[in-house]
């Protein structure tokens, strides 16, 4: 009956979005009077520790290098784990994996799915009420899941992760997986200079066409590195190849919800806002006081980015130096 969570280890640690899911599952399990089981691939003792601290009571481990490149395999794995655990609730992160595996599992189990949940479900007998964003963040909808088995994928950065002193038992999960039908030909990693990937970043510094050209990005990067932030950009900037397209945020790019979003020389078009208006705090820097973005900002500075950014970077460095 336990609440089942699919979790992932990347770059040597449990993904933040996975820890959020375990926390989320622990909240649901508490409401239902049951426990949390996490499934994880290629985990080491430290990862299992971390999953325990995030609220997992049991961790099922597997080792399979093909798993991550084919959602067919993840679906089969989670389906078998859910069966073994008698789970009626399955949680994924609404990330690259969860977007492919959660709906596929929903098809397999004829289980209702809420994709991109932003809140803890309200449980009414055998139905769950779950909130998610719709209309690209302009609104939210409360969905009711009617099916016996319920699947929820959780929007990353919707909850702060709380770690406790808990620990989890471990066992190997022996699953009978189909052979993969997708062959990986090549994997290329971006030269992100060790920045946190955008989808997980808590601090984001983003710039638009107001920067005039790619040669001017140094001041944006300086500001980002003073904060330890990840850089992003508006769509025209990616379209003109001033910046790599994986930095493009908005309706057609990545939707993000960091704690802090600093928008520099970006007008604030509705399609841009659609991808960033879930940010906790928004700072807008624009030389046009009528720029629409100010209507969606918490803090605003009207002025020339080229003179403001170095000053802001200095102020942050000073603040950081004081903190240490």
């Amino acid at each position: 009956m336990s609440v089942l969570v699919y979790t992932e280890v990347a770059k040597g640690r449990v993904k933040k979005s996975s820890l959020e899911c375990v926390n989320y599952a622990a909240n649901i399990a508490k409401q239902m009077g049951t426990s949390v089981t996490a499934v994880v691939n290629n985990a080491e003792a430290a990862h299992i520790d971390e999953l325990g601290k995030a609220g997992a009571n049991k961790v099922l481990t597997v080792k399979n290098d093909k798993l991550n490149s084919d959602s067919l395999l993840i679906t089969a794995l989670v389906e078998q784990a859910a069966k073994a655990e008698g789970s009626k609730v399955v949680i994924f992160a609404f990330d690259i994996t969860g977007k492919a595996a959660a709906p596929r599992l929903s098809a397999k189990l004829k289980a209702g799915l809420v994709a991109g949940a932003i809140d803890i479900p309200v449980i009414n007998g055998n139905t769950f009420e779950v909130k998610k964003n719709v209309f690209s963040g302009k609104a939210n909808a409360t969905y009711v899941i009617h099916s016996d088995i319920k699947i929820i994928s959780l929007l990353p950065n919707s909850f702060p992760v709380q770690l406790s002193g808990g620990s989890a038992t471990v066992s190997d999960l022996t699953a009978d997986l189909p052979s993969s039908r997708i062959t990986v030909k090549e994997t290329r990693l971006n030269s992100s200079g060790g920045m946190t990937p955008l989808a997980e970043a808590e601090l984001v510094v983003s710039a638009g066409r107001g920067l005039k050209g790619p040669e001017n990005w140094k001041i944006v990067e300086d500001l980002a590195s003073s904060l330890g932030a990840t850089t992003a950009c508006s769509r025209p900037v990616a379209d003109m190849h001033w910046r790599p397209h994986h930095e493009h945020v908005g309706q057609t790019g990545i939707a993000i919800r960091p704690n802090l979003y600093i928008a520099i020389g970006i007008s604030g078009a509705i399609q841009h806002l659609a991808g960033v208006n879930g940010s906790k705090t928004i700072v807008v820097i624009n030389n046009d006081k009528e720029a629409p973005f100010f209507k969606s900002a918490d803090y605003g500075i009207v002025g020339d980015a080229f003179s403001i950014l170095p000053k802001l970077t200095e102020a942050i460095k000073k603040f950081k130096a004081h903190q240490n």
Binding site: A10, D70, S71, L72, I96, K99, P103, R104, L105, S106, A107, G112, L113, A115, G116, K132, N133, V134, F135, K138, A139, N140, A141, T142, Y143, V144, H146, R181, I182, V184, K185, E186, T187, R188, L189, N190, S192, A199, L203, H245, H248, Q251, G253, N259, L260, A274, N277, K280, I282, K295, S296, D298, Y299, G300, I301, D304, K311, A315, K318, F319
Partner: protein, 247 residues
């Protein structure tokens, strides 16, 4: 080799979102509907390019929705799709829509089914993977590049911090994201031709709904923006630390 492109009918991106009937329904009064941008710009245009390159023979549109979405379907035909089918049903959720698409695709032998990355109204990114699950086909998620040689498709997609290139035998379901193709505008000939292209209407199968929407609410906007001057950056940093508590 036939391609089926699933298109959704969505409010134009600049629409002011409003709800009606006690906040239980989207208020479509006066709203302009368009083809979901991902479906049009990436899935459909790439399918048309594959046809123009003579690796695909036919591009069919499928839409699950009521008669009022006909203009959207005709727009897709005017861009160059050969024919279209509308499943005359309004789905409560992604599962319902996916089941209609899978039912049609199963009996009509499409080797490639393309969907958009997500609809801009429900933002589920779910329909494609459910179709793949129901048909037991491989699924490539959020592809930014797509090619086809013989019976093999090659696709590229973004990872957290990189890209991956994969290969897969047909048949396959693929969700399409930015990068795959450039948006097109229909020309006069396309618009004229679209009027007489076949648009079949079939009835839905009334699949069970696993989820329903109970209510909608607008997300609260930001009410006040505190304005600072550029000579006051220490104050901004201080506010971000003590008031917003984000640094």
């Amino acid at each position: 080799m036939k391609i089926l492109v699933a298109i959704s009918n969505v409010p134009d991106t600049t629409t002011k979102i409003q709800f009606t009937e006690g906040d239980s329904k989207f208020n479509s009064q006066g709203v302009t509907f368009v083809i979901n941008p991902y479906d049009e710009w990436y899935a459909l245009v790439r399918a048309l390019e594959l046809k123009e390159a003579n690796v695909a023979e036919k591009v069919t549109l499928i839409h699950v929705g009521l008669p009022d979405s006909e203009a959207t379907i005709r727009k897709g035909l005017s861009l160059g799709a050969d024919d279209a089918v509308r499943v005359n049903a309004e789905g409560p959720d992604a599962f319902f829509v996916a089941e209609q698409i899978a039912n049609y695709a199963k009996t009509n032998n499409y080797e490639m089914i393309l969907v958009g990355k997500e609809t801009i109204n429900y933002n589920g990114s779910s329909v494609g993977a459910i179709v793949a699950g129901l048909m037991d086909l491989p699924f490539i998620s959020l592809a930014t590049k797509l090619d086809l040689t013989g019976n093999k498709t090659t696709a590229e997609y973004d990872l957290d911090g990189g890209v991956q290139i994969v290969e897969c035998d047909l048949p396959v379901v693929i969700s399409c994201a930015k990068g795959m193709a450039e948006p097109r505008i229909p020309n006069m000939r396309g618009i004229m031709a679209a009027r007489t292209k076949p648009l079949a209407v079939i009835e839905g199968n009334g699949a069970a709904s696993l989820t329903t929407v109970k209510s909608y609410a607008l997300n609260p906007g930001r009410t006040t923006c505190k304005m600072l001057t550029e000579d006051n950056m220490d104050e901004l940093v201080n506010l971000l630390h003590t008031e917003a508590k984000v640094i």
